[in-house]
């Protein structure tokens, strides 16, 4: 596993992982509170609305939800990889630089102002959450830059401060808002997979996959960057350029993920680590594989969330934490010999 990565190895691993993803998606789409038979699904939609509920449940609810889980899982995992590389910190996750509180603030503002218009049928909460996430992350970037050009510590501190400040603002707004709205928002923020319409999924998929591909293009630079800026520079890496591109893409795909499904934790933190433990830290491989395994993880977690306490649904974030924690521990114990900083 530790020999130099070759294109052939990467293709084989990625293809295998994709195959696993497809199988998982198929199996999970047939699991749910209602039993759906594939035969009914293939016989197509009935002429009238209520003729073929199996088909409708599958196509209108199961499939979009599973696709959404793939998208969000891939986006969060890859974003986690990037932030861990940029900040050279294994504890970094996609929300570390203010995205979570920014999205929350956007959502609460949308709810309080009582906007009713929709963008393409998307509720204003999602749009505002997206804008809030993106805006906050650029604010943190800007503040971080003030502390010195490439100072990672400055970025981290700025992130912590902004997160704290915005969280306080969120609590303030929550306390003065009318209770009904607030419950809705908090529930939304806990992370949930709401069924989306296909256009949104299509666009979202394009953005996320496109973003991951772009990150793959700069993987060698990310490898070098994880050594430190001075080192990376001596290896011919344009540090500012790489940082900005990586940062922008990671922030964008995370904002998309958050605006579609609220805040789902754990995926962005542990999937990169798990993949790194098994396959190594080379980003050319870490990125695509983290994306695929993030998707697999979230699809499974969401399926569990749907069936464990049926007919109610658990917030997905709860399942990711409960499922992810022990799984990661097991992985850590098995591969800990290879991890130097645990010695």
């Amino acid at each position: 596993m530790k020999e130099l990565l070759t294109p052939k190895k990467l293709i084989i691993r990625t293809a295998s992982a994709l195959a696993v993803l497809v199988v998982v998606m198929l199996v999970c789409s047939l699991i749910g509170t209602e039993s759906v038979s594939l035969k009914e699904v293939f016989s197509g939609a009935g002429i009238q609305t209520r003729a073929n509920p199996d088909y409708e449940i599958f196509v209108q609810f199961r499939l979009p939800r599973i696709i959404l889980a793939c998208l969000v899982g891939a986006a969060l995992a890859c974003s986690g990889v990037v932030f861990q590389a940029l900040l050279r910190n294994p504890l970094a996750d996609p929300y570390i630089l203010g995205i979570s509180s920014g999205a929350g603030l956007g959502a609460i503002i949308a709810v309080i102002c009582g906007f009713n218009w929709t963008v393409w049928g998307r509720s204003p909460i999602a749009v505002f959450a997206f804008a809030g996430a993106l805006g906050t992350v650029w604010l943190v970037w800007f503040i971080g830059r003030l502390t010195g050009k490439f100072h990672v510590t400055g970025l981290l501190l700025a992130g912590v401060v902004v997160n704290a400040f915005f969280s306080a603002v969120i609590m303030f707004l929550t306390s003065i808002a009318k209770s009904q709205q607030v419950y809705s928002t908090i529930f939304w923020l806990m992370g949930n997979m709401a069924e989306e319409d296909f256009l949104v999924l299509w666009i979202g998929a394009g953005c996320v996959v496109g973003g991951i591909t772009a990150l793959f293009y700069i993987s060698p630079q990310l490898n070098a960057l994880s050594f430190g800026e001075a080192d990376a520079r001596s290896m011919g890496v344009n540090i500012a350029g790489t940082q900005i591109i990586a940062f922008a893409i990671a922030a964008a795909i995370t904002a998309i993920a958050v605006s579609l499904s609220g805040l789902i934790g754990f995926v962005g933190l542990i999937v990169p680590h798990a993949v790194r433990l098994v396959f190594g830290p080379d980003h050319r491989q870490l990125l695509p594989l983290s994306g695929i395994f993030g998707a697999i993880f979230l699809v499974i977690a969401d399926t569990l969330a749907r069936i464990i306490v049926a007919p109610a649904q658990l917030p997905v974030g709860v399942v990711t934490a409960i499922v992810g924690g022990p799984f990661f521990l097991a992985l850590l114990v098995k591969y800990s010999r290879k991890v130097s900083w645990l010695k």
Partner: protein, 298 residues
């Protein structure tokens, strides 16, 4: 062309294809849009909606309800589609409904929109004040072909409320503190249907106008509110007698309140007063019995 241009090109084609395929479908409402004259498979997503449907005589037509629809007892026997807070949309579809009735708050409104998009008949009603209730009964009656029964129900409730109002008279109003939650302390404000019930029952909210509908309040406000009566709607799970004891214990520290001094602290069954539905009169009468017990001596 280098790899970045290729990426940009493929991405642009992807987005364009997306709009081409799915764009025209936006805002399209496929499926039948006309409400049937008589709905035969109704799904109700809230307990008060279920009560209304039963009151209109639609028991047979109700296909599914939510887990918390427990009145009348027959309702609890119906198969469920999740809770009113988190309805299971798949179960709704599996029920092959020809009419889905939902409330108007964010989650349920989204579900209604989603179902409408696919082509199901939905009816969304907002029931937050007493007037809303009467309007909702009317709408549901119209949607299910039970206009007569709806009228009768609404008139019935109004008559009984008026009678109570007359009985109570215009004497001095009893100051009531309506406690929704004890820790942290949350009360019903003036802008709620609870307040409306209080006023018909001869009471007056001990709390003045507030920004929130159900504001959290501090001990100071409790001390100065001068409530004559404290009412707490009971929580379904707990034994009402124990709740009454605990309530007495809790409030004993506010000894200067007339309510505490006169031991007028009531824990009443929650259903009829927390749910704005056809049992509006029953709930209001229960409150009146607490406020003006002397009127019901006979």
């Amino acid at each position: 062309m280098n790899k970045w241009w290729w990426l940009f090109l493929i991405l642009s084609c992807w987005m364009a294809a997306g709009f081409a395929i799915f764009g025209p479908l936006q805002g399209q409402n496929c499926g039948d849009t006309a409400l049937p004259a008589r709905a035969e498979r109704i799904v109700s997503l809230a307990p008060n909606l279920t009560e209304i449907l039963f009151a209109l005589g639609l028991e047979k037509e109700i296909s599914r309800v939510t887990l918390d629809s427990d009145y009348p007892p027959a309702a609890a026997q119906k198969p469920n589609v999740g809770t009113f807070w988190q309805p299971n949309i798949e179960a709704v579809i599996a029920a092959k409904p020809d009419l889905v009735i939902t409330l108007g708050f964010h989650q349920q409104k989204n579900i209604a929109e989603r179902l409408k998009q696919i082509g199901y008949n939905t009816l969304t009603v907002n029931i937050e004040k007493v007037n809303d209730l009467f309007k909702a009964i009317e709408k549901i009656g119209a949607a299910t072909g039970k206009q007569l029964q709806a009228n009768e129900l609404a008139t019935n409730i109004r008559k009984k409320l008026d009678r109570l109002s007359t009985l109570v008279g215009t004497e001095e109003k009893v100051r009531v503190l309506w406690v929704v939650q004890r820790e942290p302390l949350r009360v019903a404000g003036r802008d709620t249907f609870v307040n409306e019930m209080l006023e018909v029952a001869g009471g007056e909210n001990a709390i003045g106008r507030t920004v929130h509908k159900y504001p959290p309040i501090g001990a100071e406000q409790v001390i100065v509110c001068g409530a004559d009566v404290i009412i707490e709607p009971a929580m379904a799970q707990e034994d009402p007698a124990r709740q009454q004891n605990r309530a007495l214990q809790y409030w004993s520290k506010f000894e200067n309140l007339p309510a505490v001094a006169n031991k007028r602290i009531y824990v009443i069954p929650g259903d009829t007063v927390s749910r704005l539905g056809p049992r509006l009169y029953e709930g209001t009468e229960t409150i009146a019995r607490c406020l003006r017990p002397e009127l019901f001596e006979n």
